[in-house]
Structure formats: structure tokens, C-alpha cells
Amino acid sequence: MITLRNIEKVYRTDTVQTQALNQVNLDIEKKEFVSIMGPSGCGKSTLLNIMGLLDNPTSGLVTISDKNTTKLNDKELARFRNKQIGFIFQSYHLINDLNVIDNVELPLLYRSTSAKQRRDLAKSALEKVGLSNRLRHFPSQLSGGQKQRVAIARAIVGNPEIILADEPTGNLDSAMGNEIMNILLQLNNTEDTTIVMVTHDESMAKKTHRLIRLFDGSQVQ
């Protein structure tokens, strides 16, 4: 599903050069639920961003669903992300000016989907995360857990094959965290969605199929 070959990421300034990722090679299979762990600054988020085509590697090859993504331009990358990948962020990144259902509809705005279809799909996604009674609420009226559930609904509304989650439980207490983790596990089980999750929480990581450990930009497990 996702293949990374010899991925390197180097951040350069005038004076300093930082090696964020060093020769990372990864194969993530379809329907797999993989977690990535490692100390802060080890390159977990950078790796996730490269998998999600949000960032380019300095060198190396990223193949997703058998497609070499290296040569895609801005427009093609946008279209590819829209169809294939859903994102969940630690700080939710909901648009505060839009209500819950409008936030969830967002990925569908960039497809040729009718307004009614968008609404129906968004409602169904919100039902899956148990928030069908909060359609007209604004993010500021929701708890952290509810916000993250909206973010999950937004990630799955376009029915992507891959979900990339960057510390989705990082801002939540353990009860809320477990709730979110259960939703992700259920998605993986019932919808066959491939999930890659960055986490600091060992107990959450243990619930996934496979754990990848990074240290100083290199894969150690």
C-alpha cells in the first residue's frame, strides 16, 4: 500500500544542516494498522508528512497504491491526497468558523460531488463516530474528544484507503484517548482502512498490528 525507499530528509539553513530522516525503508500493507513511536524530534511527524505527500523527501522514493508520487505536481498531489489519504492531527485543525457538518464536508468540496451527496456522506461519517447529534455545533462548543471525532469523520468522509494520524490521542485524557483509539480500530477492522499512527503512548501502540520505532531519523525497529 505504502512503500518508502531510501527516504532521506535534510533541513538546511545557512549555518546548520539537520538530518531528520536517514535511509528509511518501509512497506505498509493494505488493511494494516501501524504505529510509529520514538522520542521527540526523531522524525516521526516528518515521516508521516512524507507518507501523506504533505512534504517531499530530500531523496528517496514514495510509492502509494503502486503509484510513484515523486513526479506529481502540486495539482496532482492535491487530487491524489484528496482521493487516497485522510489526515488526523493532534490539535484537530478544525476550521473554527465552520460548524461540524461543514468541517466534515471539506474534503468533498474538492471533488465533483453534489451538495446533497456531500451532506449525506458527512452525516454518515458523523454517525460512524457517534456525533450525529452535533451537526450544527461549532468546534468551540465541543470537548477535545468530540473535536477529534469530528476530525476523524472528516478524514473518513471521502472514503480514503489510508488514514494518517499524527498523535490523535496526544491532547486527550486516557478515557477519551481510548474512545478515539477504538474508533480507529473499528475503522481498520470494518472498513479495511490502512492506518499509520504516530504516538507517544506505548499502550495505544500495542493495540496496533505493528510498531515502528525511530531514533535520530533512523528506523530501529
Binding site: 485543525h93 465552520l98 474538492y110
Partner: protein, 411 residues
């Protein structure tokens, strides 16, 4: 998609009330000034009471005499020139000759009343279509006899004789002369220089020597053609007449005078010279003024929008992550901006309407009646679109270049 943009635009406007106020104020205030200015220009340029036949009239207000030795003598032509030379023209159906207005003083109950007097020939009443409240204009014979008769405006009548009191047959005194009122007409705004006066008198009563053969004095003329198609012919006949005016051996050896369309007759004085009417210069200046006026709120909006980019970086990052291309985001920001400027435009139009209503009602400029016509509204809407587009493009371009990871981290 548009609905979503609209929701976001309104939400952003409501969230940052102060910035919204500054932006909307800038747009609406500028637009108001432009529209009121346009209404004034429109009022001056269009056919209106009593000068209703502007489409087939040419106007003469300038006689420019020059010589290398004596310099230049420029001003309105004399009655002699207009009567003797211009009066011989064949193309015009009628030639109205009237002086510029002269202020005179009169006193009623120890209160000073300024009456602006205009001396005219009889054709003046045919070329201009005055509405007579009562009475009638003076005729050729009365002018020849230098009868002390006058036509006054409704305002003058109301001030002098009392509101609504009939004046025909009564006497009015100004500058120590007494005249019999034979007609009362509706008021004319001072912007209509060729027709404006508070009191109209036969030119034979003028204290200036109307028989003097000087070419410059203080008269104007309106040449009325039979049809608009005759205007060009009338112009060239006028030039023929001017070229035949003898100048040899006189103080000045070059003579410039033109029969112009209404607006050109003003621009020639303000911006023209001997040959140029100055109308092109006027359009250039007005366009530049309008452009500069529009530039200020545009720059203001560009600044505000640019500073808002970082504030909305999370949204930009999310949209990009979920499939918005840079082009789509540019379109979104421009659309939002056009919505903002459109709101400013609506406020501007309402403000303009209010100000124009106030100017008309308050008699701030006596007898003027400004209107917002479709042309002006169209101009306003067009200005809004240009505003919206210009002020949105640069910030949108900068925003679209924001890297998605940077955008998400900045929050």
C-alpha cells in the same frame, strides 16, 4: 463551494470586527466619494432643466486673443462678437446670447438680498426651455425699446415679494434700478452657467456697453442646430466665422474661439489651450484621481489580508492537506475578498444615496438635483469588483505559496 466560501467570508468578517470595520469603511467611503463625484459630473454634463436640448447645441464661452508682443487676453466673448459675427451664421436655428451672471444687491426690510443678474437676448428663451410659473419672457420689441422688464426666478420672487405671492406686474429694485416683473420661472442651479441667474434682463439694459467692438467681454452663446447631425457643420461654420474676424493691425494677431459641446466648453477653459478642448486631459485626470482613490483602500486591504494569512494558516494547511490545490485556494481568497468589497460596495451605495438625498433636500447647493443613475451604479459595482480582485490577488498568491506543513505547524 461558493456557499462554503460565503460562510467562511462572513464568519471571518464577524470574528475580526475591527478589521472588518476598517476594511468596509475604506471601501464604502471611497466608493461614496466616487459616486457622489460622479453624480456631480453627471449633473453638470447631462441635459437638464432648462438646458434640455444639449444634444443639438454647441456652446461658446471663450475668446482667446494672443500676440507675441502683448501676450494673451482670454475670457468670455463680447456681445458684439456674438451678435455681429456669430449671429451671421446660417446653420444654427437659434443663437442664445447671455451674459455671465453679475451679483447685484437689494434690500428688503433692511436685509440684504444678493440677486444674480443675467442679460440675454430673446432667443435665450427659445433655446432654453424654462418653466414659467407665471407670466412670459420679454420679446424682441421690448429688448429693442430697452424696456425695463425682467423675468425672475421663483426663489427671487419668494424672497423679494413673499412666498407664493404673484409678482407679474409688480416692480423689483436692485442696484438702484427698478424693473417690472413680466415673468417668473422655476429656479436653475448655479452649476448651469449658461442658464443660471436669479433675474433675467434684456441685454440692452446692460450697464456695460454692449455695442463696444471689443472681442472680449462677459457674454456666452448657445448655438442651437436643427438636428444633432448639423453639429459638425455648425462647428466648422463657426471656425469660418472666427477666421474672418479682422485682427490685423490690432493689439492681438491671433484669435482662438470654438463652438464646443457642453462639457468641452468647460474643459477648454480649465485644461485646454488655443486648439485643444482639454476633454482628453479631463478624462485622464478624472481617471487618475479615481484610480488613486481606489488604490488607497486596495493597499489597505492588501495589508490586512496579508496579515490575516498567518492567522488562517491552520485552515490553509487543512484545506491543502485535504485536496485543495494552490489555485483553488487563490480562488477562495479572491472570492472572499470580492464578497467583502461587495458588502462595502452596498454600504457605499447606500451612503451615496443618503448623501445625495441630503444634498438635494438640504438645498446645500441651491436648486441642484443630483441622481444616482444606472451608469453610476454600474461604475460602483465595477469598482467593487476591481477592488476585490486587486486586493485579493497578492495576499492569495502569498497564501497559496505557504507550505502545507509550515501552515499546519504555525497554528
Amino acid at each position: 463551494m461558493l456557499k462554503n466560501y460565503f460562510k467562511i467570508a462572513i464568519a471571518v468578517l464577524r470574528r475580526r470586527k475591527f478589521f472588518t470595520f476598517i476594511s468596509l469603511f475604506g471601501i464604502s467611503f471611497t466608493l461614496t466619494i466616487l459616486i457622489v463625484l460622479a453624480a456631480f459630473i453627471n449633473n453638470i454634463a447631462r441635459s437638464a432643466y432648462p438646458d434640455k436640448k444639449r444634444d443639438r447645441s454647441l456652446y461658446v464661452m471663450l475668446m482667446d486673443q494672443r500676440s507675441e508682443k502683448n501676450g494673451r487676453n482670454s475670457g468670455p466673448p463680447s456681445f458684439y462678437f456674438l451678435d455681429h459675427y456669430v449671429g451671421s451664421m446660417k446653420t444654427p436655428e437659434k443663437i442664445s446670447i447671455a451674459s455671465m451672471f453679475n451679483a447685484t444687491n437689494t434690500y428688503i426690510n433692511n436685509k440684504k438680498l444678493v440677486i444674480n443678474v443675467k442679460y440675454t437676448n430673446d432667443a435665450f428663451w427659445d433655446v432654453m426651455e424654462f418653466d414659467f410659473v407665471e407670466g412670459k419672457p420679454y420679446i424682441t420689441q421690448q429688448i429693442k425699446n430697452a424696456d425695463k422688464v425682467t423675468v425672475i426666478t421663483r426663489d427671487t420672487r419668494d424672497s423679494y415679494f413673499g412666498e407664493g405671492v404673484s409678482a407679474v406686474g409688480k416692480y423689483i429694485e436692485t442696484d438702484n434700478e427698478t424693473y417690472r416683473v413680466i415673468g417668473v420661472v422655476e429656479d436653475v442651479p448655479v452649476t448651469m452657467l449658461y442658464a443660471y441667474g436669479d433675474m433675467y434682463l434684456p441685454y440692452t439694459l446692460s450697464k456695460r456697453d454692449y455695442l463696444s467692438k471689443e472681442l472680449n467681454s462677459n457674454y456666452t452663446a448657445v448655438l442651437l442646430a436643427k438636428s444633432a447631425a448639423d453639429l459638425d457643420q455648425m462647428k466648422s461654420e463657426y471656425q469660418d466665422v472666427v477666421s474672418k474676424v479682422p485682427v490685423k493691425g490690432k493689439e492681438f494677431d491671433k484669435l482662438y474661439s470654438h463652438a464646443d459641446t457642453y462639457v468641452a466648453s468647460y474643459t477648454r477653459i480649465l485644461l485646454g489651450d488655443g486648439m485643444e478642448s482639454g476633454i482628453g486631459k479631463m478624462f485622464l485626470i478624472l481617471s487618475l484621481v479615481a484610480f488613486l482613490f481606489m488604490l488607497l483602500p486596495t493597499i489597505n486591504l492588501v495589508n490586512i489580508n496579508t496579515s490575516r494569512i498567518m492567522e488562517r494558516s491552520s485552515e490553509i494547511g487543512v484545506r491543502k492537506a485535504f485536496g485543495a490545490s494552490s489555485g483553488t485556494l487563490v480562488l477562495q481568497f479572491i472570492t472572499e475578498n470580492i464578497i467583502l468589497t461587495f458588502l462595502g460596495g452596498i454600504i457605499g451605495l447606500l451612503l451615496s444615496w443618503g448623501i445625495i438625498f441630503y444634498i438635494n433636500q438640504s438645498n446645500l447647493i441651491p436648486n441642484i438635483h443630483l441622481t444616482i443613475d444606472f451608469g453610476v451604479v454600474f461604475l460602483g459595482v465595477l469598482c467593487c469588483l476591481v477592488f476585490g480582485f486587486l486586493s485579493g490577488v497578492y495576499p492569495a498568491w502569498r497564501m497559496s505559496r505557504l507550505h502545507v506543513v509550515t501552515a499546519l505547524k504555525a497554528n
